[in-house]
């Protein structure tokens, strides 16, 4: 009732009592922490936040929070979030997904959600691997990674999700590193606050199937320049960076999409007129 200046929520208010099943050391623990901290900062009560995911280690996040959640099927988090947000624009809706769920099987929804530009935030925990199914290449996996499914490597160039997001019309594009909890938290706050479709790629190491990713913490560094609002410039920068630039890279100003609702609506009998003779 009384207007209080100090934050109403702590990160723990957004954490559920369910113990994550992740491997010890998995980057996703840090992402979970950053999300709950960001939500505490954002200051909406947990019941006004909904977190939607697909299937994968990363997609386990919703049930570990104390928000409304939907752990859907593999690759379809964005459509579920779309339906949810259209019907309940008052909710803060966050999609948490992985590089397999979001970029491989879910690639088409990624394209079209960027384009649709609803006021959603998509957080991808990118570990360049399918963790949950025990180590197959994802679209961001390096071409020479030897796996049982691709002996000797895929031979395919990893794709650049940030450029795809930009090309498809995302309104906010950022890269974070799971281990940098402070920066990741503030990027998430920024992404949720920014209107329209916000895309946050988080480098989140898979210690089990990509132990080499432990070195990421030494490779990441802040982006040398500030975010731009020119998508062509942002795309060019990202296409030529080293993949470890962290920060908000693009901040657009497209109007978010709001579906046309008929307000409270007419009487049903009005719909019948067209059939009457």
């Amino acid at each position: 009732m009384s207007a209080e200046p100090k934050p109403a929520y702590k990160a723990s208010d957004f954490k559920s009592d369910i113990a994550p099943i992740w491997c010890p050391g998995c980057g996703d623990y840090h992402v979970l922490l950053s999300i709950t901290r960001a939500l505490a900062q954002l200051g909406k009560p947990p019941e006004q936040v909904a977190i939607v995911s697909g299937i994968g280690c990363s997609s386990r996040i919703p049930a570990y929070t104390n928000c409304y959640g939907f752990h859907g099927v593999h690759g379809r988090a964005l459509p579920i979030a779309t339906g949810l947000k259209v019907i309940r624009p008052d909710q803060t809706v966050i999609v948490t997904t992985g590089d397999g769920d979001g970029y491989s099987i879910g690639g088409n929804h990624f394209l079209h959600a960027c384009r649709r530009n609803l006021d959603l935030t998509m957080i991808v925990m990118d570990n360049h691997i399918y963790g949950m199914t025990k180590g197959q290449p994802s679209p961001t996996t390096e071409p020479d990674l030897d796996t049982a499914l691709t002996p000797g490597g895929t031979g395919l160039r990893p794709f650049n999700p940030l450029v795809i997001a930009l090309a498809s019309g995302a309104n906010f594009v950022a890269r974070a590193f799971a281990g940098n909890i402070g920066q990741t938290t503030s990027i998430i706050v920024d992404a949720v606050t920014h209107p329209g479709f916000s895309f946050v790629e988080i480098l989140s190491p898979c210690v089990t199937f990509r132990p080499d990713q432990r070195s990421w913490k030494t490779q990441v560094h802040p982006a040398p320049v500030d975010a731009t609002d020119d998508p062509a410039r942002a795309a060019r920068r990202i296409m030529t960076d080293d993949g470890f630039n962290l920060g908000v890279l693009y901040r657009g100003n497209r109007q978010p999409y709001t579906p046309k609702f008929g307000g409270s609506g007419c009487d049903l009998s009005e719909l019948e007129r067209e059939f009457e003779l």
Partner: protein, 576 residues
């Protein structure tokens, strides 16, 4: 054998693309309907998107009609271009009259072979003399006269349709209609439509696809996600315009994987939700439907069936998606399958489907088909019924919220986003009462029981089937074939053959007790359906105890079954 019971006349307008025969048909339906008759209009077109041959097939009657008759009484050809391709769809006979212009090409083989009586209608000469007359309007006038309807009957319909084209168009059209009427004699047709009896209810002209949209909105639907596909698109288009009027919304999706998951999201958020598609789209939705079963999210999925398998025949009807609708989900995934039986019944069944989905928090599949979906019918306004979606909602939540509680009714209260204390994660993984993923056998089996029991406990009431008659011979059928079956047995009754009809509107869950009662005393059973693989028959065997003596009439699409086909099956049965 006469269609005396129905008192209907059947006619078709034929012409090449651009000749406007479809509008002619629509105008005639509207005219007849405004003057008190009932009717049915279906369209057939060539494979071309625009510009190919087209036919409007009408049946006008003194009572509601749900199928076409066995023969056309009247054929009006604006021209004969590629008319041959309608040969199988257009049964003709020596009592059929064809109105056509010898200058517009030779009478096609199938018309001549049927012994049709050809009467000349000098369209070319008339339009040459009156350049502002359109041939299809002349054809309309001629048809009105032959049918014995006053040509003024079409005035209101014409004014309505051409209102925004200006007075000159209306005047020319009315003149052409009059010219056409005067160019032919009345009384050439052996059959005649008696004057309509007054009906107490308002008369509507509506298609099955529109009717599904309306029924769904009546049942409470406020959200739709759409990916276009023939022959379901009109449902989505109707909803796009009309949901917005009632405070709802429709979103176009990038594909069917998106549309099914969007409505799951919308329904999770609290809005009764729907999508509509046809076989290929339904194939892409089955994973999502299984998720809705597991997470207990109510949704309505309409499948307007077309010829299959695969892309099949998009513009023609078949009842061959029954299997996928009943059994297409992986795992044990209880859900509901309903099927309307006529254009009018589409309103009721779609409303009921929405009610059932919300009542049981379950996916409901509604199986319509191209025949009734794209048919336009003149019907009595469908009655208002009380079925409106009422979801069990968790409101004031104290203590730990158990979304999938096993203590109490199997339909458990659902918390909507925003409700304090109701936070839970809906999940397609096997889960505990709270929704937490679990691979324990106990949780898995308890939730499988819960989901199965909520369906089996539900009382579906009398709407489960249309039951008719009480003979020892019974016909079991479903969907849009029901109309032809009911007419077919009416014909048989004039021969003294008494036949019972059982047409389930509720296909899943099966209703073994109700079916046993409905089949009581039946000695011979005839199963009639429109699929090559006898899918309905196999379904009946799987779920019901059938009499020993069963005959299956399973005719694949795309040709519809007609009353005479049914009559022949019934009389053949007797002769055998």
């Amino acid at each position: 054998m006469q269609l005396a019971e129905i008192s209907s006349v059947s006619l078709a307008f034929l012409g090449s693309g651009g000749a406007g025969v479809i509008s002619t048909g629509e105008l005639l339906l509207e005219a007849a309907c405004k003057n008190g008759w009932y009717g049915l209009l279906t369209r057939s077109v060539g494979p071309q998107i625009r510009g190919g041959e087209a036919a409007a097939m009408l049946r006008l009657a003194t009572q509601p009609v749900d199928c076409h008759a066995d023969r056309f009484d009247l054929l009006v050809a604006v021209d004969w271009l590629n008319a041959q391709r309608f040969a199988l769809e257009m049964p003709l006979g020596p009592r059929t009259i064809a109105l056509c212009d010898p200058e517009s090409g030779a009478v096609p083989e199938f018309v001549r072979a049927a012994g049709v009586r050809v009467i000349e209608l000098p369209l070319k000469a008339m339009t040459a003399a009156n350049p502002e007359w359109r041939p299809n309007m002349i054809a309309l006038g001629a048809a009105l006269r032959v049918l014995g309807l006053p040509e003024d009957a079409a005035r209101a319909a014409i004014e309505n349709r051409f209102g925004d084209k200006g007075a000159a168009v209306i005047v020319a059209s009315l003149a052409a209609v009059k010219g056409g009427a005067d160019a032919v004699e009345s009384g050439v047709l052996p059959a005649r439509l008696p004057a309509p009896a007054a009906s107490g209810t308002a008369r509507w002209r509506i298609s099955g696809n529109q009717a599904v949209g309306l029924g769904a909105v009546r049942g409470g639907v406020r959200f739709a996600a759409a990916y276009p596909i023939t022959p379901a698109t009109e449902i989505l288009e109707w909803l796009a315009l009309n949901l917005a009027k009632v405070g709802g919304a429709l979103v176009q999706a990038e594909d069917e994987l998106a549309s099914i998951n969007m409505i799951i999201g919308g329904s999770y958020a609290g809005a009764p939700s729907i999508t509509a598609t046809s076989g290929p789209g339904l194939s892409l939705m089955v994973e999502g439907i299984g998720l809705a079963t597991a997470a207990e999210v109510p949704i309505v999925v309409v499948d307007v069936m077309r010829g299959g398998p695969s892309t099949g025949i998009p513009t023609k009807s078949e009842q061959s998606d029954l299997n996928i609708a009943l059994y297409g989900m992986h795992g044990d995934a209880p859900h509901i399958v309903v099927a309307p039986q006529s254009v009018s019944d589409c309103v009721f069944t779609a409303q009921w489907a929405t009610y059932l989905a919300e009542a049981m928090q379950i996916p409901v599949l509604l199986l319509s088909d191209q025949f009734m979906g794209q048919a336009h019918a003149a019907i009595d306004r469908p009655a208002d019924v009380a079925f409106v979606g009422q979801r069990r909602i968790a409101r004031d939540i104290a203590g730990t919220y158990r979304r999938y509680s096993l203590n109490g009714p199997n339909v458990t209260a659902m918390a909507l986003p925003g409700t304090p204390g109701g936070q839970y994660t809906a999940d397609g993984l096997s889960h505990s009462e709270r929704g937490t993923p679990s691979s324990a056998a106990s949780d898995h089996r308890a939730q499988l029981d819960k989901r199965a029991n909520k369906v089996h406990e539900f009382d579906f009431g009398d709407h489960w089937a249309t039951l008719h008659g009480s003979g020892e011979i019974a016909v079991l059928t479903w969907g849009s074939v029901t109309g032809a079956v009911l007419e077919g047995i009416a014909l048989a009754r004039t021969d003294g053959i008494d036949v019972r009809v059982i047409a389930p509107r509720l296909l899943l869950p099966a209703q073994p007790e109700r079916m046993a009662a409905a089949l009581g005393g039946v000695r011979e059973l005839i199963v009639i359906e429109q699929s090559h693989g006898a899918q309905f028959y196999r379904y009946l065997r799987a779920h019901y105890h059938l009499p020993r003596n069963v005959r299956v009439v399973n005719s694949a699409g795309p040709l519809p079954l007609r009353p005479g086909d049914i009559y022949r099956e019934l009389t053949a049965e007797r002769a055998a």
